[in-house]
């Protein structure tokens, strides 16, 4: 009988000969991660990635039983929750990890903003990261409708109405998203297509780029840490030290998902009824609530513009500026702290938190 170790060594040698794995291993061993008092924020990127992997894994399992359609979506989810072995667990983990992934992505984004990690040469890492966040929101918006329950149906109606208010492209975009004038089974079919085919494909490509950028350029150091003399800087090897810490946090995240799924399983709600009046308290997913609430606060008409349009344009412009932050922060480009940007960041955080809370209270 052949020695398993020699078999593995031979396999490694076979692959190494063809793909140069030695170079990748050497790179991993040489790569180091800066150690400082803000190192903890490094882990949120990894946690977001881990939760995305959970999404893919549980999403594939749900696909085994989920049947998209106005007459089958809700029923197939009922079947998954009541008849399929551990169906309740897979569905709840999928829903919870979707929400935690968006939360982790927001924390990851703001931590990078406040540590100015976007500064030269990592501008494109920031831009791809923002693209990933927007894609995550797209995942959330399209996935929310898939159970075809009452709340999701009306939230999608309101959400796509907001898209329809965008000048010029709004109406064609609304028709494209809904597959017609109204939210119907056609909307469900295309949201399903976006959710399981288009978005995962694009997301995987962009996440690949994002991770590649991080690996090639290494972790960004805070400005104060970067200014230290080389002998005063502390580092740890990326492999295995950092990867092992990442793994610990991933396990913690997994356990949190399990606890949430057992004690707070995601509710399926009532099946959507196209002819029923809208129920009280329609609200989008929590990460859209601050925008939703802001649009509700804006008066019907502001000067010569419709209030809703003004709000949408405002969020659009703010989002664009946010994406372009690496190119706008001139002080950051010179490795200097930018108090104005810090203040702006905190105002935005405060705005999001306050509007979200108000959205849930009112």
């Amino acid at each position: 009988m052949a020695n398993p170790e020699s078999l593995l060594t031979r396999l490694y040698g076979w692959l190494n000969e063809r793909f140069g794995i030695d170079a990748a291993v050497a790179f991993g061993k040489k790569k180091v991660v800066p150690v400082h008092r803000e190192s903890v924020w490094y882990y949120f990127g990894g946690v977001t990635l881990f939760l995305f992997i959970i999404q893919v894994f549980t999403g594939i399992l749900l696909l085994l039983y989920y049947r998209p359609g106005a007459d089958s979506s809700f029923e197939s989810l009922q079947f998954i929750l009541t008849q399929v072995q551990f169906g309740w667990l897979i569905r709840s983990v999928h829903s919870w990890s979707a929400n935690l992934m968006v939360l982790a992505a927001f924390i990851h984004m703001f931590s990078n903003f406040f540590t100015q990690s976007y500064r030269r040469p990592r501008e494109l890492t920031w831009v791809t990261g923002m693209a990933l966040l927007l894609l995550s929101l797209g995942f959330g918006f399209s996935g929310y409708l898939l159970p075809w329950n009452e709340l999701a149906f009306f939230a999608t109606k309101v959400g796509t109405d907001i898209v329809g208010a965008v000048p010029i492209v709004g109406n064609p975009l609304l028709i494209f998203l809904r597959g017609g004038e109204d939210v119907t089974g056609a909307t469900l079919s295309r949201f399903f297509g976006f959710h399981v085919a288009v978005l995962p494909m694009v997301f995987t490509l962009v996440v690949g780029l994002h991770v590649l950028f991080v690996q090639v350029q290494g972790m960004s150091e805070p400005i104060a840490h970067q200014a230290l003399a080389a002998d005063k800087k502390r580092t740890m090897p990326f492999f295995p030290n950092f990867v092992l810490r990442d793994a610990m946090l991933w396990l913690v995240a997994l356990n949190i998902l399990a606890i949430l799924s057992v004690f707070f399983p995601w509710d399926l709600g009532e099946k959507a009824d196209l002819f029923a009046p809208a129920p009280a308290g329609i609200r989008p997913e929590w990460y859209f609530v601050f925008m939703f609430q802001t649009l509700k606060f804006i008066p019907g008409h502001v000067l010569f513009m419709e209030g809703e349009l003004l709000g949408i344009l405002g969020f659009g412009v703010a989002g664009l500026i946010w994406i372009l932050v690496p190119f706008l922060d001139r002080r950051g480009q010179r490795n200097q702290r930018n108090p104005l940007f810090q203040l702006w960041g905190w105002i935005i955080v405060l705005f999001i938190v306050v509007m979200t809370i108000v959205g849930y209270i009112l």
């Binding site: 092992l244 399990a258 707070f264």
Partner: protein
């Protein structure tokens, strides 16, 4: 020259004055002269009150009728003597005993009423004379209700207008104007507390508190124009207008003949008339204020039947309550309970049906329905227990997973310590 100019000016002025006079006269003719209104408004508060209080939403005013349509006379005459002369058809204010016929001139004439609606009834006057009110009026008693007592005088609204005194929610108060008057009711040996009793009953609460206009007001049981109290032998006929099944079951039950023989007023014997309380299980069996024990005593067949029926309905109710509690516990833990809810709905329906079937006074029929309900409640309980067991399984699984994950985290931590301690 000057003289000609003066004559021209005079002609022009005359033409202008003529034109103004003509246009004023024309305007007056278009607006319609109404000397009744004009004089009464100037004739002091008492005489002006009917005109001032006339609401433009009044059913008659809104259709273009003025005072003369009811009171006769000639509103185009300026002279009061002429306008209010018998020669011009003046009728004046009708006496109470004249009011039904007064209104009936139009309302009992299909030819006239058809102009306003093909579906409007014209038998009110005929019905009125068959009512207790009509009988009394005919016999010379003038303190009974006539048309105006219920509908008002000068601001009369259609019954579907909430301002109307005969809009369903206003009917009990309208009747209570007279029927709540102890002095007046005392003359006829009637109790003045019908409104109070009605307000405390299920019908009164539904109509007056929940403002459910589908709930019965006084006229739904007593009639409106032909108002009369139902006799003891016809009460069930009145109640069955809505409570069809209960009445049919009662009619086919041994109680019908027994109640007739004892001259008991059918439904009213157990449920009362105006203060109709929400019945519950305490009304069954042989104990309690409303129970079958009021008539049945130990040793007779009905006594035993009452006890058995009470036991059956109680068993179903208790079983259903327990199942609701159990399924609620499962639901609060986030476990889907759709099928259990269906079973619970079936059990609830069986309980409601059992409460209706008791009107047959037939133990077997009640038992059949109660047992069907008990079976569904048991099924819901079973599903609830399975749900709770499932939750326990989930908790145990989570415990094992947490231990496993914690051990893995510990192992990784030790590994990190090991490599970093090197």
């Amino acid at each position: 020259m000057i003289l000609r100019a003066a004559i021209d000016l005079r002609k022009t002025l005359l033409a202008a004055l003529l034109a103004i006079a003509l246009s004023l006269g024309l305007a007056g003719a278009v607006a319609g002269k109404d000397s009744c209104r004009d004089c009464h408004l100037e004739a002091g508060d008492e005489l002006a009150a009917p005109v001032r209080s006339m609401d433009q939403e009044d059913i008659h005013a809104s259709r273009g009728f003025s005072c003369d349509a009811c009171h006769g006379g000639d509103p185009t005459a300026d002279d009061q003597e002429i306008a209010m002369s018998k020669a011009r058809g003046f009728l004046g204010v009708p006496k109470p005993q004249e009011i039904p016929a007064f209104c009936g001139r139009c309302h009992a004439d299909p030819q006239i009423m058809r102009k306003y609606s093909v579906s409007v009834p014209t038998d009110q006057l005929e019905k009125y004379w068959t009512s207790q009110h009509g009988h009394a009026l005919k016999s010379g008693n003038t303190d009974v209700a006539t048309c105006v007592s219920c509908h008002g005088v000068h601001s009369i609204y259609p019954a579907n207008n909430p301002k109307s005194s005969v809009w369903p929610i206003n009917v009990p108060q309208t009747c209570n104007h007279c029927h709540g008057n102890a002095g007046l009711m005392g003359k006829y040996g009637l109790k003045p507390d019908s409104f109070k009793e009605y307000s405390e009953g299920v019908h009164g609460k539904a109509l007056l508190e929940k403002r459910d206009t589908g709930a019965p007001a006084c006229n739904d049981c007593h009639g409106n124009h032909g108002a009369a109290p139902p006799g003891f032998e016809t009460v069930a006929q009145v109640c069955r207008q809505c409570h069809v099944n209960n009445a049919e079951m009662f009619m086919a039950s041994p109680h019908k003949a027994a109640f007739d023989a004892a001259e008991l007023p059918e439904c009213v014997a157990c449920h009362a008339n105006h203060r109709i309380l929400h019945p519950d299980e305490s009304w069954l069996g042989v104990e309690g204020e409303h129970s079958c024990g009021q008539c049945h005593s130990k040793g007779d067949g009905g006594y035993e039947v009452a006890q058995q029926i009470r036991e059956l309905v109680d068993s179903l109710r208790i079983m259903e309550e327990n199942a609701i509690s159990l399924v609620g516990q499962v639901e609060r833990r986030g476990i889907p309970v759709g099928e259990a809810q269906t079973a619970l709905a079936d059990a609830r329906e069986a309980l409601l049906k059992s409460r209706t079937i008791i009107h047959t006074a037939d133990v077997l029929k009640v038992a059949e329905m109660a047992h069907a309900g008990i079976a569904r409640a048991a099924a819901a309980q079973q599903m609830g227990q399975t749900g709770l067991a499932d939750f326990e399984f989930r908790k145990r699984g989570l415990g094992v997973a947490t231990i496993f994950i914690s051990l893995l985290i510990l192992a990784i931590w030790l590994w990190i310590r090991h490599i970093e301690g090197r």
